[in-house]
Amino acid sequence: MGKITNEELLNNINTQFGDRVTVVGEPFGLLTLETTKEQISDLLGFLKNSPVLQFIYLTDITAVHYPEQELTIGVIYHLHSLVNNVRVRIKVFIDGENCHIPTATNLWEGANWMERETYDYFGVIFDGHPDLRRILNVDDMTAFPMRKEFPLEDPNRVDKKDYFFGR
């Protein structure tokens, strides 16, 4: 068990941010919050630098593509307070066409590669990132392969064409 409960954690955040941060749920005891891209830098900075909470460890940054939503790209942050043994998840939804969100590299050096990976796969542009380029895929790739419109199977594949199977 963590040294602070989700309730205390939420009270701490609410006194600072009020209704600018909303609670999505608490699946498996993991407090999940949602905020906007205007608030995310302040929220991450507060969680890291607050002497009570001390979320000093950035576990992961990733993204999810929901084509049916108005704001199609969700950027997800996982933070871990090593001192209090508690975790938190923060979601920010942004526009899929104009995918901009502030970087977290000024808070955690480790955010550098996580943001590059998120850019590589989802095309999220982290404003202020020192070196935002592809990290895993080939440099000349033009698409963002984890977006839903990207075909699952490689178009160059020849041995699975329908005419080989009488279709």
Binding site: L136, N137, V138, M141, A143, P145, F150, L152, E153, D154, N156, R157, V158, D159, K160
Partner: protein, 180 residues
């Protein structure tokens, strides 16, 4: 009495104190029985190749015990395993560094067609970037299959003309890959 088998002489004219055959056949026989493979092993097919090279299956019986880890001395490029798109230029560079005559064997489903990795990051068969002489099916192929593929390469080496690189078909094949 030793049971070591020696490769038989190629077809030719034999008489008292002389034996005549064509240079193509003599060179082909010599090449086929002293192929230097370059193992380009990226995953599990490479493990099968280790078994193929080891004493039980013993690829050296076919004159291929000398693995060449430099492409410049290699005759046969054996590509064993998944080739990611990012690895593609590396593989192509290795192929370009090999001197003629050179042969290529795609071992296993991934090297031949991409295998189960039908996805954005994996090359759908190495024949997208370099010409391939023999494909060995299997996921991974057993050492017997690799040896069978190797023996097919030997057949090619034995029967192809000494200067394959000067034939128009070969030139056309290479230029279709943008080589030379």
């Amino acid at each position: 009495m030793s049971d070591i088998q020696i490769v038989g002489a190629p077809a030719g004219v034999e008489g008292a104190g002389f034996f005549a055959t064509s240079l193509d056949k003599a060179v082909g026989m010599a090449r086929a029985n002293s192929l230097w493979p370059l193992p380009f092993a990226t995953s599990c097919c490479g493990i099968e190749f280790m078994a193929t090279m080891a004493s039980h299956y013993d690829l050296s019986r076919f004159g291929a015990e000398r693995l060449s880890f430099s492409p410049r001395q290699a005759d046969l490029l054996m590509v064993m395993g998944t080739i990611a798109k990012k690895m593609g230029p590396v593989l192509r560079q290795v192929y370009l560094q090999m001197a003629e005559p050179r042969w290529v064997m795609a071992v296993g489903a991934c090297a031949s067609s991409g295998g189960i990795f039908d996805t954005y990051s994996v090359l759908q068969g190495i024949d997208e970037i370099i010409p391939v002489d023999v494909y060995v099916p299997g996921c991974p192929p057993r050492p017997e299959a690799i040896i069978d593929g190797f023996m097919h390469i030997q057949d090619l080496v034995r029967t192809e003309s000494t200067r394959r690189r000067e034939t128009p078909e070969y030139q056309k094949l290479l230029s279709s890959y943008g080589i030379q």
